[in-house]
Symmetry: D2
Subunit: 353 residues, 4 copies
Amino acid sequence: MVDVGIIGAAGYTGSELLRLLLFHPEAEVKVITSRRYQGEYVQRVHPNLRGISRLKFSGVNLSKIGDECDFVFTAVPHGISKDITPELLDMGVKILDMSADFRLKNPELYPVYYDYEHPRIDLLEKSAYGIPEINREEIKNADLVACPGCLATSGIFGLAPIVKYEAFNLENIIVDTKIGSSAAGDSPSSSSHHPERSGVVRAYKPTNHRHTVEIEQELSKIAKKPVKIALSNHAVDIVRGILATIHVWLSDDQPIAEKDIWQMFREFYQNEYFVRLVRDRKGIYRFPDPKVIVGTNFCDLGFELDVHLPRLVILSAIDNLMKGASGSAVQSFNVMLGIDEKTGLDFPGFHPI
Amino acid sequence: MVDVGIIGAAGYTGSELLRLLLFHPEAEVKVITSRRYQGEYVQRVHPNLRGISRLKFSGVNLSKIGDECDFVFTAVPHGISKDITPELLDMGVKILDMSADFRLKNPELYPVYYDYEHPRIDLLEKSAYGIPEINREEIKNADLVACPGCLATSGIFGLAPIVKYEAFNLENIIVDTKIGSSAAGDSPSSSSHHPERSGVVRAYKPTNHRHTVEIEQELSKIAKKPVKIALSNHAVDIVRGILATIHVWLSDDQPIAEKDIWQMFREFYQNEYFVRLVRDRKGIYRFPDPKVIVGTNFCDLGFELDVHLPRLVILSAIDNLMKGASGSAVQSFNVMLGIDEKTGLDFPGFHPI
Amino acid sequence: MVDVGIIGAAGYTGSELLRLLLFHPEAEVKVITSRRYQGEYVQRVHPNLRGISRLKFSGVNLSKIGDECDFVFTAVPHGISKDITPELLDMGVKILDMSADFRLKNPELYPVYYDYEHPRIDLLEKSAYGIPEINREEIKNADLVACPGCLATSGIFGLAPIVKYEAFNLENIIVDTKIGSSAAGDSPSSSSHHPERSGVVRAYKPTNHRHTVEIEQELSKIAKKPVKIALSNHAVDIVRGILATIHVWLSDDQPIAEKDIWQMFREFYQNEYFVRLVRDRKGIYRFPDPKVIVGTNFCDLGFELDVHLPRLVILSAIDNLMKGASGSAVQSFNVMLGIDEKTGLDFPGFHPI
Amino acid sequence: MVDVGIIGAAGYTGSELLRLLLFHPEAEVKVITSRRYQGEYVQRVHPNLRGISRLKFSGVNLSKIGDECDFVFTAVPHGISKDITPELLDMGVKILDMSADFRLKNPELYPVYYDYEHPRIDLLEKSAYGIPEINREEIKNADLVACPGCLATSGIFGLAPIVKYEAFNLENIIVDTKIGSSAAGDSPSSSSHHPERSGVVRAYKPTNHRHTVEIEQELSKIAKKPVKIALSNHAVDIVRGILATIHVWLSDDQPIAEKDIWQMFREFYQNEYFVRLVRDRKGIYRFPDPKVIVGTNFCDLGFELDVHLPRLVILSAIDNLMKGASGSAVQSFNVMLGIDEKTGLDFPGFHPI
């Protein structure tokens, strides 16, 4: 049993972390912080926890948190974590950071994509990018895990086998995502106002989204050569979930059969509990759909080969708050603890929902 | 550990039963039946169970089921269970029936509300109406539990303390419900066709719904006198959930304070884990809302006293597939087993969803 | 052709007024105001008007508006109109006020329900309550029309024939409404934030909503005796629309047949184009549903007599922004102009939507 | 004034045609047919038309229809129109066919994509593909207009300027669409059952959709060389609307500025009322969104140039039942009549909806 804290527990990522950790058999939640709701019971913000937890939000007192916690999850806006994480690390606390502050290995990307110069390049080198299916050993030995972005996760899972196996043309890859409203966080705004947000299919960041470089970083590592991808995102009328539709062009001279692709995916993800390959011939759930995995830590993957043009369409579905954020973080936490990765994450999802 | 079967496991009630029982530490699912999907893997119908279970649907072979199972959940259409339950009971199987076939104690109501003469009046007497919060002892000792209707459940929970404490006028009670699409089952129809069903606020059965008599039966038992209620139902654009808005008139000569009503509710439901009283002064979840309890076995209750007219408005929220059906059935199953009622039912719900 | 202005044209009521008046053959829109969007093109706020109108929002300059406009629609928050309307009236402008400032004849209700003392009781007497179906002559001759509240409209239309014909018990009437998110206006807030608002069935103002007294005022006038009603409201996951479910108790000693009730409704609303009686025996739209009338100025009415208890359930459906606000205002405007009431309001609605 | 008929008026395309033609000043609807609803009033199927029209559905009697109608809209399933259209043409009736039966100029595609050999290759040559913005003169002189598919329309509008101006690489074009449930028609099925369809982001036909070849045919004509595109479609939780996200790769050696692209779009669509270019710098509707154009005949177009990779992302939004079907057909009808193309089509859309 380890003692854990959540800095920034009033947001949506914090909400999921809290829910998961309250029911986690190896964790005890000691501290949850929120500047805005300091002193309030969790149920005031997270109505699902009524009768479940009597915890109250506190302010951020790093030395107290350092005293009380073995592990801290930092669910704070980009740019905040880089300033508090070093102090906690110095106190011997292990950190799972939900922000982007330690995700990118190349410090030059921070001014471009996050508007700040990174103050701790040494920690960028030491941090592990938190996808256990890809970086399990690194995570196991890390003191600081940089939990991946949600869109990045959906893209990386779909493309990792592709870039590894060298059978594909790695030019002109498109990652076209459809995402729910919870990904934008808990702050009201005109764009999230129900009459304006309901029923949309709204392009946002059709080009140059920050997660592009995260995806490229991880895929390049797997491919052992630079990989570029083009990411375009769309808000749709769901609360949770991402579907990434990934368009990959085949090498003209290298025909590839569907069964070979299945083989690559199976091999890449063998023994990975949280990755499910979807290949039904009939029924209405023949492809991955975020509806199916609401609340779960699964990444569902499927694909179809085009017969009209030399193209492969890969579908990758996750819950942005789970496999795309807090579920994945708890999975990394389990890896760090050396326990079964499924611990506290075995919720199978609902049908229907 | 007991062996259980689900007859009718391809529908939505069956889906939830299966999900709950697959993760139940004291149950092993031995048989699941579906005439339509006989021979198919569960994931073909319930995509959430991909990778979770390799069970296949079988046909209904009662003697085989009787051999293999200690408990059987019958999730079949009204009128079917009455014909199969007796045989299973004779084989020593305990039954949790999800249909209406054993809910009504008065056999004369069956021809009126369900279009058949009841063949086993003796079993109507022996069956327990499956709301543990009200009939715990009966359920504990029963071989046959008649699990309540979903609308009935929402109404009974909201009104039980009211009819018990005699402070209210029991005339002219209105139960006005709003309910999700999963309550109508898994068969496609024009009324459930997405373009026709999306965005509706559709009155259905504004009067004389079958669950009326279920509610009256249980409330009359609690009140120890006949109670009549008027039930009106509305389909809204959610998949899961019921909100019952219950309008009760106060006795003119008997003023009652809000704190007295809280006292009644607290007293009636003290120590009931699955009943939560919602009474926040601020925030956006000041009243029960089915959104908050999607997937949980909670019944959230709240109320407001009118200052304009002598009226009390009670709000009762449940998930129609959980506390309104399968969750409640598993709770009764736990009672019958003599184990902690929360077993397999401790999922706290999501925020947001 | 008359010149019209809209004060407060950036909100949702203003949006609909603008759309209707831009296409109205007898009106020319001269001024539209918005403090917040002063100087911006309408399409910046109302994206549907891209390519339709090159109008810009201006600030509020009453004397300029008085010079330029024959009619002004004031779509401003409660409490503002009472301060600007008198000046415009003095300049000979006719006013259609969308706020509550001139709806209530009894000035004592303003401090109770709107937190201010009314400064112009004389205007309360002179204003016409803007439901042409009930107050056509008054509206025709008025300089100031107080356009009704949306919930009030749904209740009044459903109950007007009932209170007129004296066949019913007027005690214990419940108006239980379900309403879309646009009714709360265009200001973002936690309660309207998409992740929190999507999928709700949220009671708000279960008792003592302001529109209660509006409904009572108009019904008492029709009944020629005081009528009290109990109003409870629920937010559901639609953008536009209200369904009011109205529960009325019959006098025990005065049985009434369904055909008599149809007769009352037909008689009361004969020749009223915008009131449609819904009484289909089959199909999925047997009762009024706000889905059917999105964007229209219709009020659809239907009912069902209970056979279990002496109760009548009336269903009343409107679009809160149309018959519940701007459509109704344009209808009153047509009455004031002495032209066909349908002018500019003949949009029939979509199927499906 | 011309007399028109609709064969297949009970479906969703028929519903919109009927609504538009009932209010069309130059058309009188003489016949509407439906095998299933023969003898029923339109309101039985299209509840929006209650009180608007007293028309009844009749069976299909071609010689009677030929006698009574100058124009017939055939809103029937693929494969039916090819058998009835020739007879009507022989009677001197002009036809607007909503099915795919006359869209493809190459008869060899019919067995591949529609499972039949085309019996009237002569009519394929004579029919006009019904996009006035591209084929106005042809439509004007045609007796038979083949109205385009909805997905095809969204793709063609977005790509027409691109393929014309030769500044782009025409390899590897992706058209990734998101579409509402009404596009699948009015027949209930498991995939359209509300509990299964609500909240989905469901890939369907990720490759090789029939509309691919329609898009290619029209673009190749404009480009004056063969153009290939890759189409992938996704069902999202809206009833009406399509957003096509179109990914085009730039020629590496030919840099192009945003203003040049605007210039191309403006030039291509100058004077086209129904095409709107969306290029706002701020606000929440900076890109085309089908939400904005529900019920309208607009095609909203916008784009963003990628700075990361040489890519252009074009967004194209339409209402699948309007510009994607019935609105477009009425626009072609207006062209054939030689009247203002906007006649009966000037509805501007709602904000919010």
